[in-house]
């Protein structure tokens, strides 16, 4: 394990531990409104200040981590798997299969999915628990987010299909399914890792944007996405630097993921 890897591991472990110690680190909870101290700068009682409704930002970051850090990678995994299956198989099989799968992918890239999400919200009851709502949201994101990767995977798999080792394996009588799982898929790792890595922050941010459709985390529960949304009201960058803490944290987590994955990939290569 390199130094970078150790650092990345430590960062992730620290973030996860802190989020699980939230009850102890921020006993007042994420929903308590200190209405006398709204939009306050950092102080001894509120380490990262308070938001516009006087809720402790530090507590919100910790509790938000639980949801976002658990669900975003899960959704990213789902979308990566879908991409691997659809793009990988299509590219590997080639011909009409590939053309059909890529036409579907292109359609997925162009359709206004916003309306599907609006419909999904309409099908959910209004009195839904915040957790169910956020899980449905991440599930939808996972189900819709595979398209770009599938296209790249298809190109990669098509390349592998014509490569010598696959031909040799075929000549050696290894059956198609085994060939795909054992020889083709592992070689798609660079794209799979890229997709996984990109999807995590993209899903975290999308979850907050879906708040406008009544999906995503419901008030008063926090998520990283909703904390990052605070930055959208920014009129000047220098005034309230502590509002950037969730962003910095997300960058650290995302970078750590990438460092771990990238070393993995180099080992694999």
């Amino acid at each position: 394990m390199s130094l970078w890897q150790k650092l990345a591991c430590a960062a992730l472990v620290l973030v996860v531990l802190a989020s699980f110690a939230a009850n102890w680190l921020a006993p007042a909870g994420y929903a308590h409104q200190y209405r006398e101290a709204t939009d306050a700068p950092p102080s001894r009682t509120h380490w990262l200040g308070t938001d516009e409704l006087g809720r402790d930002r530090f507590a919100r970051v910790l509790y938000g981590t639980r949801i976002s850090l658990l669900l975003a990678p899960a959704a990213a995994l789902l979308s990566t798997l879908l991409a691997a299956l659809i793009g990988g198989i299509a590219g590997y099989l080639g011909g009409a299969w590939k053309r059909a799968a890529m036409a579907v992918t292109d359609l997925f890239l162009s359709l206004p999915w916003l309306f599907l999400l609006i419909t999904a919200r309409a099908l959910l009851p209004l009195n839904v628990s915040p957790l169910v709502s956020v899980m449905v949201t991440f599930l939808l994101l996972g189900l819709l987010g595979w398209t770009s990767a599938a296209r790249v995977l298809c190109a990669s798999a098509a390349l592998l299909r014509g490569s010598d080792f696959v031909r040799q394996a075929r000549a050696a009588g290894i059956n198609g399914r085994r060939l795909f799982w054992m020889h083709v898929l592992p070689n798609l790792k660079p794209v799979l890792f890229a997709q996984f890595w990109i999807s995590i922050p993209v899903f975290i941010l999308s979850e907050a944007n879906l708040g406008i459709l009544g999906l995503g985390v419901a008030e008063p529960m926090p998520s990283w996405g909703s904390l990052l949304k605070e930055l959208e009201g920014l009129v000047s960058v220098g005034e309230e630097p502590w509002k950037f803490v969730p962003l910095i944290l997300l960058v650290i987590v995302v970078t750590s993921f990438q460092i771990l994955l990238s070393r993995q990939q180099e080992v694999a290569a």
Binding site: R35, L53, L126, N127, P130, G214, E219, E232, V235
Partner: protein
Amino acid sequence: MKRHNRQFRCPALSAPTAKALAVLVFCLVSICTRSLAQGGGLRFCLHAEPKTFDPLKVDDDASGAIRYLTGGVLVRENRQTQQLEPGLALSWKVSSDGREISFRLRSGVSFSDGTPFSAEDVAYTVQQLMDPALHSPTGDVFRSGAGSVETKVISQTQISIRFPAPVAGLAALFDQVAIMSVRSPKKEMAVLGPFMVGDYKPGSSVVLNRNPYYWKTDAQGRKLPYLDSIHLDIQPNRDVELLRFKREELDLINSLDSEYFDKVSASSPQVVHDAGPSLDSEQLWFNQVAKAPIPGYKRNWFRSTAFRRAISQAINRDDLSRVVYHGHAQPALGPFSPANKFWFNANLKPQIYSPETALKALQGEGFRMENGTLKDKEGNEVVFSIITNAGNKQREHMAVLIQDDLQKIGIHVNVVTLDFPSLIERMTQTFDYEAIILGLTNVDLDPNNEMNVWLSSSENHQWNPSQKTPETEWEAEIDRLMREQASAADLNKRKEAFDRVQEIVAEQQPFIFLINKNALSAVSTSVRGAAPVILWPQTYWNAESLMVAGK
């Protein structure tokens, strides 16, 4: 709602004093700015694409703004003095039965393309406006009974208009009617107001140029308007609007968000104006529709006066105003804000925040507290959802504060934000909601314009629309009083009836009124002659006498 119309100001000044002051200020300003040869160009934002340039079809804010700046009207409601003033009409007279109005018109006036203006244009405009196929909201307010409108051109400068039934507050309604030319080949683009549409780039901007034929002059006899042009940028995003204002790319912000007010005020206090509470109100209401797809026990809560009053009592309105609006709002008492001086019922008592009293009242109705959760008589936990439109930060924040307030009396609230079309569908067609926070359009000062909100048979009677017969006694009473005020010719009789409506609403809380927003605006120091008021359009109501220096 997104639209906010015609609000009023409420400084502690009587109208004559205000008028005198205004004249004084105006004289001073004109002395100070006499050195300016031209008025320059003014820039500000429209928050949406104008849907039409046809003044009769106006149904949105942006088109309304353009109509205000370009349209010539017979009678103008002065946004500062709140009095009706002569426009294209030198004088007018309403008949004693309230059905007929006659105008004496200005002579020698021309449209922006040089076509002369006469009584025939007024007749044409009114006939077009009242065409039932047009479905114009401007025209619909004149429709008080079945039958057609008769216009009689007496001479080039005299006209009388007769309506099939009395129309309450008739003269003031003409403030919205921009006169169109019957003869001009340019149709609705030939205007009588201070400006005319010069250039329109859809999605980007509208440029209004000075109308060289505008009839009005200032006290020194100089032709108005001073400004050469008005550049209206179409920009829905308020953050960007503020950024551009700070960079001096814009000269004014007509309705400033309260959170930005303080930010701008900290760096340049001279540019922001808080004109005091406006007519804008925000309210919460429960779904009382009989056929709504919600559980029966919930409908019973929502239909119970005691329940609604308890909720109202458990909401800390002072905090709503202080936390959400940074103090730039006042707790609301009823349908009209105290800013509406004539029509506001001064006997209404402020709602005292008291979760204890609220809880006691609920317990009196058979509700009980169990482990911090309120349950009704049948043991159902009191849980409901509040929906509001996404993207309106203040409403979202109010919902979260209310969620927290109600938790104190054991009520669990789920806050759901929806995109506007989904919200309207739930509210007006499927009735699939429990409670909602919105601000309904407050139209003019006259309650007659809110007829469709209060009549139980109307589709805009939001909490329980389109009732065949009033389902409650108090709604029947409101129906009767609203009809009474509409047909009474005596202003004080009308006021008496509407005072009673306000009392019933305060008792029954079909709408739980939350706050009245203050009219906030920002005007660059380079703009001369600005006097922001409460009434829409707060900052550019006197656009014809504004000037921009240093450009």
